[in-house]
Amino acid sequence: MAALAGVLVLAAAGCGGDEAEGGGEPRLVVSAASSMTEALTECARDYAAADVRLQLAGSDELAAQIRQGVKPDVYAAANTRLPDELHDEGLLSRPVEFATNTFVLATPAGSEIDAVEDLRREGVAIAIGSESVPIGAYTRETLALLPRAQEEAILANVRSNEPDVKGIVGKLSQGAADAGFVYVTDVNAAGEELEAIELPAELEPEVTYGAGVVEGARDPGAARAFVEGLVDGPCADALEAAGFGPPPR
């Protein structure tokens, strides 16, 4: 009986404190939009000032978790709307715009599809983001700018509303979808597999990424430092290398 209790105590101790390791390095849980997967993974690993754990998912899902009381330390989204909403609800510090991205039409390499107009052709399978995830919102925003008939024809060809942008990338790589709307950074990350088609300037939405410190974070100082590092620091460099643009002035 005593042995069992002892084991349980040890297990609990093991779960609780990594603070004992690494000489008192603070631990940071960062909820970040999945479009930043490749860029942030490396810089998080190399981050010197803290032990960074990344949670990657659609920005909307991460926001919903925070609303339900889950407390990461940092929240970085693929838009500014969600961070602003959370700030208004008192769940996030005033958000900082830290990067921009380019919204593109992506196809598997060697595809015949060259432009948005090609998407209305019959039989084209398109994958887009669901309504609540930023990439999905940008997509619907953009399509709404097209003439009604074209918008409807393209929407009729939508075969999947993915919960996050990596799902769209997956469908494209697998050859299941003929086209999808993603960020240029995703196409870069996919290497040779995907091609990006830039949209005409008048259709191009403004894609701005925002981040903040979650209210109730364990170490707000370290969290703030991380957020600032997204604007200027090793992580900012990593984002730039991946194809993200600098924050708007």
Partner: protein, 263 residues
């Protein structure tokens, strides 16, 4: 004495842990709110799609799995152990791995992707793809139970059936299956539950589109990102459906067992 207390405590902990999340689903909203949320477009679509695809998958599993399980249960052949392991493999695959596996096999770039294409069979983005994914993850649950059930049927019963004039096939239907029925029903219930709740493999293999491939679990996931109440409502319905099925299975099994007390 202490041992008994420890046992009781363990049960209490398990009970609370398992029921609290389920209870919580129903506690937060009023029945009125839940019903309202259900009326939203998409919710009923998702439920209906879930039930349809799960039922279809189950039908396939029963039709193909039952004779297969019978073979595994009653014959030995070389490599049988390997076959059994292969059949049970999807049991231990995480849904994401199952999704990857299905894509690697049946996706457009998959092993038989070209053949499927020439045959005009489309799975990704199709309801058929959902059925395929559900069948893949749920069949081991049924087959395992069915094998155990068939293996426990007294062989002399089939002998008796043959000496009484029924061919092996008729004997299989009239004697073996009824005798193994409790196990078959239990296996079917498990498979149904697993299929109804499938998420990862379906999303990866078939995508998510309302009315076509967005099953209830996927719809719950999407609603969670937008409006928690809606997620709750759909979850509540799913829980109610699963509970109803489990309950009816128990009742059927119970009445069989109670049919006449032994002397």
């Amino acid at each position: 004495m202490i041992f008994r207390i420890a046992l009781g405590a363990a049960l209490a902990v398990a009970l609370v842990f398992l029921t609290l999340p389920v209870v919580a689903i129903f506690v937060d909203s009023t029945p009125g709110e839940l019903i309202d949320s259900l009326g939203e477009p998409g919710a009923l679509d998702a439920l209906w799609l879930s039930l349809r695809t799960t039922a279809t998958a189950l039908a396939i599993i029963l039709v193909v799995g039952t004779p297969a399980a019978y073979l595994l249960a009653t014959r030995s052949f070389r490599g049988k152990a390997a076959v059994v392991t292969l059949v049970e493999l999807p049991l231990v695959l995480p849904p994401a791995v199952a999704g990857v596996a299905l894509l690697a096999a049946l996706g457009p770039h998959g092993i038989v992707g070209d053949e499927l294409d020439s045959a005009g069979v489309e799975l990704t983005f199709q309801t058929a793809g959902v059925v395929v994914a559900l069948t893949f993850v749920a069949s081991p649950f049924y087959i395992r139970q069915a094998v155990a059930g068939f293996a426990s049927v007294d062989r002399t019963l089939l002998d008796a059936s043959r000496t009484l004039g029924s061919s092996e096939a008729r004997g299989f239907l009239r004697v073996v299956i009824p005798s193994a029925m409790p196990s078959l029903v239990a296996g079917a219930a498990l498979a149904f539950g697993r299929a109804l709740g499938e998420f990862g493999a379906t999303l990866m293999f078939a995508g998510s589109l309302q009315g076509v491939t967005q099953t209830a679990p996927l719809a719950i996931y999407e609603r969670f990102n937008v409006e928690f109440e809606d997620a709750l409502a759909l979850s509540a319905v799913l829980v109610a459906v699963s509970a109803a099925i489990l309950l009816s299975v128990k009742l059927v099994q119970g009445s069989e067992a109670l049919g006449g007390a032994p002397r």
